[in-house]
Symmetry: C2
Subunit: 311 residues, 2 copies
Protein backbone atom coordinates (compact mmCIF):
# COMPACT_ATOMS: atom_id res chain seq x y z
CA UNK A 1 0.00 0.00 0.00
CA UNK A 2 1.44 3.38 -0.98
CA UNK A 3 2.33 5.83 1.78
CA UNK A 4 -0.28 8.40 0.75
CA UNK A 5 -3.07 5.86 1.18
CA UNK A 6 -2.18 5.21 4.80
CA UNK A 7 -3.95 6.48 7.87
CA UNK A 8 -3.08 9.81 9.43
CA UNK A 9 -4.72 12.37 11.68
CA UNK A 10 -7.10 11.54 14.50
CA UNK A 11 -8.53 8.07 15.01
CA UNK A 12 -10.95 7.13 17.75
CA UNK A 13 -11.00 3.78 19.56
CA UNK A 14 -14.77 3.67 19.62
CA UNK A 15 -16.54 3.03 22.94
CA UNK A 16 -18.84 0.00 22.81
CA UNK A 17 -22.41 0.58 24.01
CA UNK A 18 -23.82 -2.40 25.90
CA UNK A 19 -27.43 -3.35 26.45
CA UNK A 20 -28.74 -4.21 29.90
CA UNK A 21 -27.88 -7.88 29.22
CA UNK A 22 -24.27 -6.77 28.49
CA UNK A 23 -24.54 -7.66 24.79
CA UNK A 24 -23.18 -5.03 22.35
CA UNK A 25 -25.91 -2.61 21.25
CA UNK A 26 -25.25 -2.68 17.52
CA UNK A 27 -27.79 -0.04 16.49
CA UNK A 28 -26.41 2.44 18.99
CA UNK A 29 -22.85 1.56 17.99
CA UNK A 30 -23.55 2.31 14.31
CA UNK A 31 -25.23 5.61 15.14
CA UNK A 32 -22.31 6.61 17.35
CA UNK A 33 -19.72 5.66 14.70
CA UNK A 34 -21.54 7.91 12.22
CA UNK A 35 -21.55 10.76 14.75
CA UNK A 36 -17.79 10.42 15.26
CA UNK A 37 -17.17 10.52 11.51
CA UNK A 38 -19.45 13.57 11.25
CA UNK A 39 -17.22 15.25 13.82
CA UNK A 40 -14.43 14.99 11.27
CA UNK A 41 -12.23 12.27 12.69
CA UNK A 42 -10.07 10.46 10.17
CA UNK A 43 -10.87 6.95 11.20
CA UNK A 44 -12.42 4.58 13.67
CA UNK A 45 -10.09 2.29 15.59
CA UNK A 46 -12.92 -0.01 16.60
CA UNK A 47 -12.25 -2.88 19.02
CA UNK A 48 -9.48 -1.20 20.98
CA UNK A 49 -8.73 -1.09 24.68
CA UNK A 50 -11.23 1.76 25.10
CA UNK A 51 -13.83 -0.37 23.29
CA UNK A 52 -13.57 -3.10 25.94
CA UNK A 53 -12.93 -5.35 22.93
CA UNK A 54 -11.05 -7.94 24.94
CA UNK A 55 -14.05 -8.21 27.24
CA UNK A 56 -16.07 -9.40 24.23
CA UNK A 57 -15.67 -12.61 22.28
CA UNK A 58 -14.12 -12.88 18.84
CA UNK A 59 -17.55 -13.61 17.35
CA UNK A 60 -19.07 -10.56 19.05
CA UNK A 61 -16.36 -8.39 17.50
CA UNK A 62 -16.67 -9.96 14.06
CA UNK A 63 -20.44 -9.47 14.11
CA UNK A 64 -19.94 -5.79 14.92
CA UNK A 65 -17.51 -5.36 12.03
CA UNK A 66 -19.91 -7.07 9.63
CA UNK A 67 -22.64 -4.70 10.84
CA UNK A 68 -20.46 -1.61 10.25
CA UNK A 69 -19.71 -2.66 6.69
CA UNK A 70 -23.32 -3.63 5.98
CA UNK A 71 -24.36 -0.20 7.28
CA UNK A 72 -22.21 1.38 4.60
CA UNK A 73 -19.29 2.60 6.68
CA UNK A 74 -16.29 2.24 4.39
CA UNK A 75 -13.40 -0.03 5.31
CA UNK A 76 -11.31 2.93 4.26
CA UNK A 77 -12.18 4.56 7.58
CA UNK A 78 -11.67 1.48 9.76
CA UNK A 79 -8.69 0.25 11.77
CA UNK A 80 -10.13 -2.61 13.85
CA UNK A 81 -8.16 -4.12 16.71
CA UNK A 82 -7.39 -7.72 15.78
CA UNK A 83 -4.59 -8.84 18.09
CA UNK A 84 -5.52 -11.64 20.50
CA UNK A 85 -3.71 -14.08 22.78
CA UNK A 86 -4.41 -16.92 20.38
CA UNK A 87 -2.69 -16.95 17.01
CA UNK A 88 -5.76 -18.50 15.39
CA UNK A 89 -8.02 -15.73 16.72
CA UNK A 90 -5.70 -13.01 15.44
CA UNK A 91 -5.60 -14.63 12.02
CA UNK A 92 -9.38 -14.98 11.90
CA UNK A 93 -10.11 -11.36 12.86
CA UNK A 94 -7.36 -9.95 10.66
CA UNK A 95 -8.53 -11.93 7.63
CA UNK A 96 -12.06 -10.62 8.09
CA UNK A 97 -10.77 -7.03 8.33
CA UNK A 98 -8.77 -7.39 5.11
CA UNK A 99 -11.72 -9.02 3.36
CA UNK A 100 -13.86 -6.03 4.34
CA UNK A 101 -11.28 -3.64 2.89
CA UNK A 102 -10.19 -2.15 6.20
CA UNK A 103 -7.37 0.29 5.53
CA UNK A 104 -5.43 -1.08 8.50
CA UNK A 105 -5.61 -3.16 11.64
CA UNK A 106 -4.29 -2.32 15.10
CA UNK A 107 -2.55 -5.40 16.43
CA UNK A 108 -1.82 -6.17 20.06
CA UNK A 109 0.94 -8.69 20.65
CA UNK A 110 -0.26 -11.98 22.20
CA UNK A 111 -0.54 -10.75 25.78
CA UNK A 112 -1.07 -13.74 28.08
CA UNK A 113 2.53 -14.87 28.57
CA UNK A 114 4.88 -12.26 30.00
CA UNK A 115 8.60 -11.94 29.43
CA UNK A 116 8.38 -13.60 26.02
CA UNK A 117 11.29 -13.01 23.66
CA UNK A 118 11.35 -10.79 20.60
CA UNK A 119 11.97 -14.00 18.63
CA UNK A 120 8.69 -15.38 19.89
CA UNK A 121 6.80 -12.17 19.14
CA UNK A 122 8.39 -11.92 15.70
CA UNK A 123 7.34 -15.51 15.00
CA UNK A 124 3.82 -14.66 16.10
CA UNK A 125 3.43 -11.59 13.86
CA UNK A 126 5.12 -13.45 10.96
CA UNK A 127 2.80 -16.39 11.27
CA UNK A 128 -0.23 -14.06 11.22
CA UNK A 129 1.02 -12.19 8.15
CA UNK A 130 1.74 -15.40 6.28
CA UNK A 131 -1.55 -17.03 7.18
CA UNK A 132 -3.60 -13.98 6.22
CA UNK A 133 -1.53 -13.95 3.03
CA UNK A 134 -2.99 -10.79 1.48
CA UNK A 135 -1.03 -7.85 0.07
CA UNK A 136 -3.74 -5.45 1.21
CA UNK A 137 -2.95 -6.12 4.88
CA UNK A 138 -1.57 -3.05 6.72
CA UNK A 139 -0.62 -3.63 10.35
CA UNK A 140 -0.26 -0.96 13.02
CA UNK A 141 1.55 -2.47 16.00
CA UNK A 142 -0.08 -1.72 19.33
CA UNK A 143 2.42 -0.86 22.08
CA UNK A 144 0.54 -0.58 25.37
CA UNK A 145 2.80 -1.92 28.11
CA UNK A 146 0.73 -0.57 31.03
CA UNK A 147 -2.09 -2.94 30.06
CA UNK A 148 -0.74 -5.68 27.79
CA UNK A 149 2.46 -5.92 29.85
CA UNK A 150 4.12 -7.19 26.66
CA UNK A 151 6.08 -4.41 24.97
CA UNK A 152 6.79 -3.89 21.26
CA UNK A 153 10.49 -3.09 21.45
CA UNK A 154 12.46 -1.02 18.96
CA UNK A 155 14.42 -4.06 17.86
CA UNK A 156 11.19 -5.98 17.20
CA UNK A 157 9.84 -3.09 15.12
CA UNK A 158 13.09 -3.01 13.16
CA UNK A 159 12.94 -6.73 12.36
CA UNK A 160 9.28 -6.55 11.34
CA UNK A 161 9.76 -3.52 9.08
CA UNK A 162 12.77 -5.15 7.46
CA UNK A 163 10.93 -8.40 6.75
CA UNK A 164 7.49 -6.93 5.94
CA UNK A 165 8.04 -3.31 4.80
CA UNK A 166 4.72 -3.09 2.96
CA UNK A 167 2.68 -4.74 5.69
CA UNK A 168 4.00 -3.48 9.02
CA UNK A 169 3.38 0.20 8.41
CA UNK A 170 2.91 1.88 11.76
CA UNK A 171 2.47 1.79 15.51
CA UNK A 172 0.26 3.20 18.21
CA UNK A 173 2.34 4.13 21.25
CA UNK A 174 0.18 3.94 24.37
CA UNK A 175 3.14 3.66 26.70
CA UNK A 176 2.45 7.14 28.04
CA UNK A 177 6.23 7.52 27.85
CA UNK A 178 7.21 10.30 25.46
CA UNK A 179 10.83 9.16 25.40
CA UNK A 180 9.69 5.90 23.82
CA UNK A 181 7.58 7.68 21.17
CA UNK A 182 10.53 9.94 20.42
CA UNK A 183 12.83 6.94 20.05
CA UNK A 184 10.41 5.30 17.59
CA UNK A 185 10.07 8.54 15.60
CA UNK A 186 13.83 8.96 15.42
CA UNK A 187 14.60 5.35 14.60
CA UNK A 188 11.96 4.86 11.88
CA UNK A 189 11.33 7.95 9.75
CA UNK A 190 8.36 7.39 7.44
CA UNK A 191 6.83 4.79 9.75
CA UNK A 192 3.22 5.59 10.65
CA UNK A 193 3.61 6.42 14.31
CA UNK A 194 0.52 7.47 16.26
CA UNK A 195 0.55 8.83 19.80
CA UNK A 196 -1.81 6.96 22.12
CA UNK A 197 -3.02 10.21 23.66
CA UNK A 198 -3.80 13.64 22.23
CA UNK A 199 -1.60 15.08 24.98
CA UNK A 200 1.29 14.07 22.69
CA UNK A 201 -0.33 15.02 19.38
CA UNK A 202 1.71 18.11 18.57
CA UNK A 203 5.11 16.70 19.54
CA UNK A 204 4.28 13.53 17.62
CA UNK A 205 3.43 15.46 14.43
CA UNK A 206 6.48 17.71 14.85
CA UNK A 207 8.65 14.63 15.28
CA UNK A 208 7.46 13.11 12.02
CA UNK A 209 4.59 11.02 13.35
CA UNK A 210 1.18 10.85 11.72
CA UNK A 211 -1.38 11.59 14.43
CA UNK A 212 -3.06 10.12 17.48
CA UNK A 213 -5.46 7.32 18.31
CA UNK A 214 -7.02 8.38 21.55
CA UNK A 215 -9.71 7.26 23.99
CA UNK A 216 -10.80 10.82 24.71
CA UNK A 217 -11.38 11.28 20.99
CA UNK A 218 -14.75 9.80 21.94
CA UNK A 219 -15.67 12.96 23.81
CA UNK A 220 -13.57 15.73 22.30
CA UNK A 221 -13.16 14.69 18.65
CA UNK A 222 -13.55 18.01 16.83
CA UNK A 223 -11.10 19.94 19.01
CA UNK A 224 -8.48 17.23 18.71
CA UNK A 225 -8.95 17.09 14.94
CA UNK A 226 -8.60 20.87 14.87
CA UNK A 227 -5.12 20.56 16.40
CA UNK A 228 -4.14 17.95 13.83
CA UNK A 229 -5.35 20.23 11.04
CA UNK A 230 -3.53 23.30 12.40
CA UNK A 231 -0.32 21.86 13.76
CA UNK A 232 1.85 24.04 11.55
CA UNK A 233 0.07 27.29 12.43
CA UNK A 234 1.12 29.81 15.10
CA UNK A 235 -1.92 28.81 17.21
CA UNK A 236 -0.83 25.18 17.45
CA UNK A 237 0.64 25.30 20.96
CA UNK A 238 -2.36 27.11 22.35
CA UNK A 239 -4.76 24.66 20.74
CA UNK A 240 -2.70 21.77 22.04
CA UNK A 241 -2.74 23.17 25.58
CA UNK A 242 -6.54 23.28 25.52
CA UNK A 243 -7.01 19.66 24.47
CA UNK A 244 -4.31 18.53 26.90
CA UNK A 245 -6.18 20.19 29.75
CA UNK A 246 -9.38 18.36 28.85
CA UNK A 247 -7.50 15.07 28.53
CA UNK A 248 -5.82 15.48 31.91
CA UNK A 249 -9.11 16.31 33.55
CA UNK A 250 -10.68 13.13 32.22
CA UNK A 251 -7.74 10.83 32.79
CA UNK A 252 -7.68 11.68 36.49
CA UNK A 253 -10.62 9.23 36.49
CA UNK A 254 -10.73 5.64 35.24
CA UNK A 255 -10.61 6.47 31.54
CA UNK A 256 -13.16 4.13 29.95
CA UNK A 257 -16.01 4.57 32.45
CA UNK A 258 -15.28 8.31 32.51
CA UNK A 259 -15.61 8.56 28.72
CA UNK A 260 -18.81 6.50 28.85
CA UNK A 261 -20.26 8.83 31.50
CA UNK A 262 -19.50 11.88 29.37
CA UNK A 263 -21.04 10.32 26.28
CA UNK A 264 -24.10 9.28 28.35
CA UNK A 265 -24.44 12.87 29.50
CA UNK A 266 -24.20 14.52 26.08
CA UNK A 267 -26.29 11.89 24.30
CA UNK A 268 -28.78 12.08 27.16
CA UNK A 269 -28.77 8.29 27.27
CA UNK A 270 -27.91 6.70 30.60
CA UNK A 271 -27.47 3.26 29.03
CA UNK A 272 -24.07 4.47 27.77
CA UNK A 273 -22.73 4.23 31.34
CA UNK A 274 -22.82 0.43 31.17
CA UNK A 275 -19.41 -1.26 31.17
CA UNK A 276 -18.74 -4.97 30.99
CA UNK A 277 -17.05 -6.62 33.98
CA UNK A 278 -14.27 -6.58 35.07
CA UNK A 279 -14.50 -2.82 34.58
CA UNK A 280 -16.49 -0.77 37.09
CA UNK A 281 -18.76 2.12 36.19
CA UNK A 282 -18.16 5.56 37.65
CA UNK A 283 -20.47 6.49 40.55
CA UNK A 284 -23.04 9.27 40.08
CA UNK A 285 -21.21 11.61 42.41
CA UNK A 286 -17.83 11.06 40.73
CA UNK A 287 -19.46 11.60 37.34
CA UNK A 288 -21.02 14.87 38.43
CA UNK A 289 -17.66 16.10 39.71
CA UNK A 290 -15.98 15.14 36.44
CA UNK A 291 -18.58 17.01 34.40
CA UNK A 292 -18.24 20.15 36.50
CA UNK A 293 -14.45 19.95 36.29
CA UNK A 294 -14.72 19.71 32.51
CA UNK A 295 -16.93 22.77 32.44
CA UNK A 296 -14.43 24.61 34.65
CA UNK A 297 -11.55 23.95 32.21
CA UNK A 298 -13.61 25.37 29.35
CA UNK A 299 -14.65 22.12 27.68
CA UNK A 300 -17.19 23.17 25.06
CA UNK A 301 -20.29 21.64 26.62
CA UNK A 302 -22.77 23.80 24.75
CA UNK A 303 -21.24 23.14 21.35
CA UNK A 304 -21.15 19.41 21.94
CA UNK A 305 -24.76 19.32 23.12
CA UNK A 306 -25.80 21.12 19.95
CA UNK A 307 -23.92 18.62 17.79
CA UNK A 308 -25.60 15.75 19.53
CA UNK A 309 -29.05 17.25 19.22
CA UNK A 310 -28.52 17.76 15.49
CA UNK A 311 -28.05 13.98 15.02
CA UNK B 1 -21.09 -30.67 45.81
CA UNK B 2 -20.07 -32.40 49.03
CA UNK B 3 -16.54 -31.92 50.29
CA UNK B 4 -15.56 -35.57 49.81
CA UNK B 5 -16.38 -35.38 46.11
CA UNK B 6 -13.99 -32.52 45.50
CA UNK B 7 -10.58 -32.73 43.91
CA UNK B 8 -7.49 -33.43 45.95
CA UNK B 9 -3.98 -34.77 45.38
CA UNK B 10 -1.94 -34.17 42.24
CA UNK B 11 -3.42 -32.60 39.11
CA UNK B 12 -1.49 -32.00 35.91
CA UNK B 13 -2.01 -29.01 33.60
CA UNK B 14 -1.60 -31.13 30.50
CA UNK B 15 0.88 -30.02 27.83
CA UNK B 16 -0.74 -29.58 24.42
CA UNK B 17 0.96 -31.41 21.53
CA UNK B 18 0.88 -29.40 18.31
CA UNK B 19 1.16 -30.65 14.75
CA UNK B 20 3.58 -29.06 12.28
CA UNK B 21 0.78 -26.67 11.23
CA UNK B 22 0.45 -25.63 14.91
CA UNK B 23 -3.00 -27.19 15.24
CA UNK B 24 -3.59 -29.29 18.39
CA UNK B 25 -2.74 -32.97 17.82
CA UNK B 26 -5.85 -34.51 19.32
CA UNK B 27 -4.85 -38.16 18.97
CA UNK B 28 -1.54 -37.54 20.71
CA UNK B 29 -3.25 -35.44 23.36
CA UNK B 30 -5.67 -38.26 24.22
CA UNK B 31 -2.89 -40.82 24.39
CA UNK B 32 -0.86 -38.55 26.65
CA UNK B 33 -3.82 -37.86 28.96
CA UNK B 34 -4.28 -41.61 29.37
CA UNK B 35 -0.59 -42.03 30.17
CA UNK B 36 -0.80 -39.34 32.87
CA UNK B 37 -3.82 -41.04 34.46
CA UNK B 38 -1.99 -44.37 34.32
CA UNK B 39 0.82 -42.73 36.27
CA UNK B 40 -1.68 -42.30 39.09
CA UNK B 41 -2.39 -38.58 39.02
CA UNK B 42 -5.73 -37.54 40.49
CA UNK B 43 -6.87 -35.30 37.69
CA UNK B 44 -6.10 -33.45 34.51
CA UNK B 45 -6.18 -29.66 34.65
CA UNK B 46 -6.40 -29.39 30.87
CA UNK B 47 -6.21 -25.95 29.23
CA UNK B 48 -3.98 -24.32 31.80
CA UNK B 49 -1.01 -21.98 31.44
CA UNK B 50 1.27 -24.97 30.83
CA UNK B 51 -1.13 -26.17 28.12
CA UNK B 52 -0.65 -22.93 26.13
CA UNK B 53 -4.44 -22.77 26.30
CA UNK B 54 -4.56 -19.01 25.88
CA UNK B 55 -2.55 -19.39 22.69
CA UNK B 56 -5.42 -21.45 21.28
CA UNK B 57 -8.93 -20.29 20.45
CA UNK B 58 -12.02 -21.04 22.49
CA UNK B 59 -13.25 -23.40 19.77
CA UNK B 60 -9.93 -25.24 19.68
CA UNK B 61 -10.20 -25.80 23.45
CA UNK B 62 -13.84 -26.86 23.31
CA UNK B 63 -13.10 -29.35 20.53
CA UNK B 64 -10.35 -30.87 22.65
CA UNK B 65 -12.69 -31.24 25.63
CA UNK B 66 -15.35 -32.88 23.47
CA UNK B 67 -12.69 -35.29 22.20
CA UNK B 68 -11.59 -36.21 25.73
CA UNK B 69 -15.14 -37.01 26.77
CA UNK B 70 -15.88 -38.92 23.57
CA UNK B 71 -12.70 -40.94 24.18
CA UNK B 72 -14.17 -42.07 27.49
CA UNK B 73 -12.11 -39.99 29.91
CA UNK B 74 -14.48 -39.22 32.73
CA UNK B 75 -15.42 -35.63 33.61
CA UNK B 76 -14.75 -36.77 37.14
CA UNK B 77 -11.01 -36.54 36.37
CA UNK B 78 -11.13 -33.19 34.56
CA UNK B 79 -10.58 -29.62 35.75
CA UNK B 80 -10.43 -27.62 32.50
CA UNK B 81 -9.25 -24.02 32.49
CA UNK B 82 -12.20 -21.87 31.45
CA UNK B 83 -11.30 -18.30 32.47
CA UNK B 84 -10.92 -15.85 29.56
CA UNK B 85 -10.73 -12.09 29.11
CA UNK B 86 -14.25 -12.02 27.70
CA UNK B 87 -17.15 -12.79 30.00
CA UNK B 88 -19.02 -14.52 27.17
CA UNK B 89 -16.07 -16.84 26.45
CA UNK B 90 -15.75 -17.81 30.11
CA UNK B 91 -19.47 -18.57 30.27
CA UNK B 92 -19.34 -20.65 27.09
CA UNK B 93 -16.37 -22.78 28.15
CA UNK B 94 -17.61 -23.18 31.72
CA UNK B 95 -21.07 -24.27 30.57
CA UNK B 96 -19.54 -26.89 28.31
CA UNK B 97 -17.38 -28.22 31.17
CA UNK B 98 -20.39 -28.52 33.47
CA UNK B 99 -22.44 -30.19 30.74
CA UNK B 100 -19.64 -32.77 30.34
CA UNK B 101 -19.70 -33.47 34.06
CA UNK B 102 -16.29 -32.00 34.82
CA UNK B 103 -15.71 -32.18 38.55
CA UNK B 104 -14.36 -28.64 38.57
CA UNK B 105 -13.04 -25.79 36.45
CA UNK B 106 -9.92 -23.70 36.98
CA UNK B 107 -10.86 -20.08 36.39
CA UNK B 108 -8.47 -17.26 35.56
CA UNK B 109 -9.78 -13.78 36.26
CA UNK B 110 -10.34 -11.65 33.13
CA UNK B 111 -6.73 -10.68 32.56
CA UNK B 112 -6.57 -7.93 29.92
CA UNK B 113 -7.26 -4.87 32.07
CA UNK B 114 -4.84 -4.33 34.95
CA UNK B 115 -5.51 -2.64 38.27
CA UNK B 116 -9.19 -3.57 38.15
CA UNK B 117 -11.06 -3.47 41.44
CA UNK B 118 -12.22 -6.42 43.52
CA UNK B 119 -15.75 -5.13 42.87
CA UNK B 120 -15.19 -5.55 39.13
CA UNK B 121 -13.70 -9.02 39.54
CA UNK B 122 -16.49 -10.05 41.92
CA UNK B 123 -19.05 -8.85 39.36
CA UNK B 124 -17.27 -10.85 36.67
CA UNK B 125 -17.22 -14.15 38.61
CA UNK B 126 -20.82 -13.56 39.79
CA UNK B 127 -22.04 -12.96 36.27
CA UNK B 128 -20.37 -16.18 35.10
CA UNK B 129 -21.87 -18.23 37.95
CA UNK B 130 -25.34 -16.83 37.35
CA UNK B 131 -25.20 -17.29 33.59
CA UNK B 132 -23.95 -20.88 33.84
CA UNK B 133 -26.72 -21.37 36.41
CA UNK B 134 -25.96 -24.96 37.33
CA UNK B 135 -25.57 -26.37 40.84
CA UNK B 136 -22.96 -28.82 39.61
CA UNK B 137 -20.49 -26.03 38.87
CA UNK B 138 -17.37 -26.10 41.10
CA UNK B 139 -14.91 -23.26 40.55
CA UNK B 140 -11.25 -23.28 41.51
CA UNK B 141 -9.94 -19.70 41.34
CA UNK B 142 -6.64 -19.35 39.52
CA UNK B 143 -4.21 -16.95 41.22
CA UNK B 144 -1.20 -16.49 38.94
CA UNK B 145 -0.04 -12.88 39.30
CA UNK B 146 3.33 -13.37 37.54
CA UNK B 147 1.47 -14.09 34.29
CA UNK B 148 -2.12 -12.84 34.55
CA UNK B 149 -0.95 -9.71 36.43
CA UNK B 150 -4.45 -9.65 37.95
CA UNK B 151 -4.38 -11.10 41.46
CA UNK B 152 -7.13 -12.97 43.34
CA UNK B 153 -6.92 -11.18 46.69
CA UNK B 154 -7.93 -12.61 50.05
CA UNK B 155 -10.81 -10.18 50.32
CA UNK B 156 -12.12 -11.25 46.89
CA UNK B 157 -11.93 -14.93 47.91
CA UNK B 158 -13.81 -14.11 51.11
CA UNK B 159 -16.63 -12.34 49.24
CA UNK B 160 -16.93 -15.12 46.68
CA UNK B 161 -17.01 -17.90 49.30
CA UNK B 162 -19.61 -16.00 51.29
CA UNK B 163 -21.87 -15.47 48.29
CA UNK B 164 -21.28 -18.80 46.54
CA UNK B 165 -20.14 -21.29 49.22
CA UNK B 166 -21.11 -24.37 47.18
CA UNK B 167 -19.65 -23.11 43.90
CA UNK B 168 -16.39 -21.35 44.71
CA UNK B 169 -14.66 -24.30 46.32
CA UNK B 170 -10.93 -23.81 45.92
CA UNK B 171 -7.94 -22.04 44.48
CA UNK B 172 -4.68 -22.76 42.70
CA UNK B 173 -1.93 -20.51 44.02
CA UNK B 174 0.70 -20.00 41.33
CA UNK B 175 2.07 -16.85 42.91
CA UNK B 176 5.27 -18.67 43.83
CA UNK B 177 4.92 -16.79 47.12
CA UNK B 178 4.53 -19.19 50.03
CA UNK B 179 3.39 -16.40 52.36
CA UNK B 180 0.34 -15.91 50.15
CA UNK B 181 -0.50 -19.64 50.13
CA UNK B 182 -0.10 -19.70 53.90
CA UNK B 183 -2.42 -16.71 54.27
CA UNK B 184 -5.09 -18.42 52.13
CA UNK B 185 -4.74 -21.66 54.11
CA UNK B 186 -5.05 -19.80 57.41
CA UNK B 187 -7.92 -17.56 56.33
CA UNK B 188 -10.10 -20.26 54.72
CA UNK B 189 -9.91 -23.65 56.43
CA UNK B 190 -11.76 -26.27 54.39
CA UNK B 191 -11.26 -24.35 51.13
CA UNK B 192 -9.67 -26.50 48.42
CA UNK B 193 -6.29 -24.84 48.17
CA UNK B 194 -3.77 -26.26 45.71
CA UNK B 195 -0.13 -25.20 45.47
CA UNK B 196 0.89 -24.21 41.95
CA UNK B 197 4.16 -26.09 42.27
CA UNK B 198 5.10 -29.42 43.86
CA UNK B 199 7.92 -27.55 45.63
CA UNK B 200 5.17 -26.44 48.05
CA UNK B 201 3.26 -29.74 48.17
CA UNK B 202 4.19 -30.87 51.67
CA UNK B 203 3.76 -27.47 53.38
CA UNK B 204 0.44 -27.06 51.57
CA UNK B 205 -0.88 -30.43 52.78
CA UNK B 206 0.43 -29.80 56.30
CA UNK B 207 -1.26 -26.41 56.29
CA UNK B 208 -4.65 -27.91 55.44
CA UNK B 209 -4.48 -27.59 51.65
CA UNK B 210 -5.50 -30.35 49.29
CA UNK B 211 -2.62 -30.86 46.87
CA UNK B 212 -0.84 -29.34 43.92
CA UNK B 213 -1.55 -28.59 40.28
CA UNK B 214 1.85 -28.45 38.69
CA UNK B 215 3.45 -28.03 35.27
CA UNK B 216 6.24 -30.47 36.08
CA UNK B 217 3.59 -33.08 36.88
CA UNK B 218 3.85 -33.63 33.12
CA UNK B 219 7.32 -35.12 33.55
CA UNK B 220 7.51 -36.40 37.12
CA UNK B 221 3.92 -37.45 37.89
CA UNK B 222 4.45 -40.68 39.83
CA UNK B 223 7.05 -39.28 42.23
CA UNK B 224 4.90 -36.22 42.99
CA UNK B 225 1.86 -38.41 43.56
CA UNK B 226 4.00 -40.56 45.87
CA UNK B 227 4.67 -37.52 48.07
CA UNK B 228 0.95 -36.71 48.19
CA UNK B 229 0.18 -40.29 49.20
CA UNK B 230 2.87 -40.39 51.90
CA UNK B 231 2.78 -36.91 53.35
CA UNK B 232 2.04 -38.14 56.88
CA UNK B 233 4.86 -40.73 56.91
CA UNK B 234 8.37 -40.24 58.34
CA UNK B 235 9.79 -40.28 54.79
CA UNK B 236 7.73 -37.28 53.68
CA UNK B 237 10.46 -34.63 53.94
CA UNK B 238 12.97 -36.77 52.14
CA UNK B 239 10.50 -37.53 49.34
CA UNK B 240 9.62 -33.85 49.09
CA UNK B 241 13.30 -32.87 48.84
CA UNK B 242 13.73 -35.20 45.86
CA UNK B 243 10.80 -33.80 43.85
CA UNK B 244 11.80 -30.24 44.75
CA UNK B 245 15.27 -30.84 43.36
CA UNK B 246 13.83 -32.07 40.06
CA UNK B 247 11.44 -29.13 39.92
CA UNK B 248 14.20 -26.60 40.55
CA UNK B 249 16.37 -28.17 37.90
CA UNK B 250 13.61 -27.85 35.31
CA UNK B 251 12.38 -24.39 36.30
CA UNK B 252 15.85 -22.92 35.78
CA UNK B 253 14.74 -23.14 32.11
CA UNK B 254 11.62 -21.67 30.46
CA UNK B 255 9.15 -24.08 32.04
CA UNK B 256 6.77 -24.97 29.20
CA UNK B 257 9.34 -25.60 26.45
CA UNK B 258 11.52 -27.43 28.98
CA UNK B 259 8.67 -29.78 29.90
CA UNK B 260 7.91 -30.34 26.22
CA UNK B 261 11.57 -31.21 25.56
CA UNK B 262 11.58 -33.76 28.38
CA UNK B 263 8.35 -35.35 27.16
CA UNK B 264 9.73 -35.41 23.60
CA UNK B 265 12.82 -37.19 24.90
CA UNK B 266 11.02 -39.87 26.91
CA UNK B 267 8.28 -40.43 24.36
CA UNK B 268 10.95 -40.51 21.67
CA UNK B 269 8.81 -38.12 19.62
CA UNK B 270 10.44 -34.88 18.56
CA UNK B 271 7.13 -33.33 17.51
CA UNK B 272 6.44 -32.75 21.22
CA UNK B 273 9.01 -29.95 21.18
CA UNK B 274 6.65 -27.75 19.12
CA UNK B 275 5.29 -24.70 20.98
CA UNK B 276 2.88 -22.13 19.60
CA UNK B 277 4.13 -18.55 19.26
CA UNK B 278 4.72 -16.36 21.20
CA UNK B 279 6.57 -19.07 23.15
CA UNK B 280 9.99 -20.18 21.95
CA UNK B 281 11.22 -23.73 21.90
CA UNK B 282 14.34 -24.73 23.80
CA UNK B 283 17.48 -25.12 21.65
CA UNK B 284 19.02 -28.58 21.19
CA UNK B 285 22.05 -27.71 23.27
CA UNK B 286 20.02 -26.28 26.13
CA UNK B 287 17.80 -29.35 26.04
CA UNK B 288 20.77 -31.69 26.21
CA UNK B 289 22.15 -29.79 29.22
CA UNK B 290 18.77 -29.94 30.96
CA UNK B 291 18.52 -33.70 30.42
CA UNK B 292 22.00 -34.32 31.77
CA UNK B 293 21.30 -32.07 34.77
CA UNK B 294 18.16 -34.08 35.48
CA UNK B 295 20.13 -37.30 35.36
CA UNK B 296 22.70 -35.80 37.71
CA UNK B 297 20.06 -34.97 40.34
CA UNK B 298 18.81 -38.56 40.26
CA UNK B 299 15.69 -38.08 38.14
CA UNK B 300 14.50 -41.61 37.39
CA UNK B 301 15.20 -41.68 33.67
CA UNK B 302 15.28 -45.47 33.40
CA UNK B 303 11.96 -45.93 35.21
CA UNK B 304 10.26 -43.32 33.10
CA UNK B 305 11.58 -44.77 29.86
CA UNK B 306 10.22 -48.16 30.89
CA UNK B 307 6.81 -46.68 31.65
CA UNK B 308 6.69 -44.99 28.29
CA UNK B 309 7.75 -48.16 26.45
CA UNK B 310 4.96 -50.11 28.19
CA UNK B 311 2.35 -47.78 26.66
Amino acid sequence: MANDQRFSGVLVPVLTPFKADLGPDTAKFLQYCRWLLDQGVDGLAVFGTTSEANSTSVDERMDQLDALIEAGISGDRLMPGTGACALTDTVRMTSQAVKHGCRGVLMLPPFYYKGVSDDGLFASFSEVIQRVGDDRLAIYLYHIPPIANVPITLSLIERLIKEYPDTVVGLKDSSGDWSNTEAVLNAFPGFGTFAGSEAFLLPTLRGGGVGCITATGNVNPAAIKHVADNWQTPQADELQAAITLVRKTIQAYPLIPACKRIVAHFHNDSSWTQVRPPLDGLGDEQAATLLSELEAVGFDMAGLEEDMAAQ
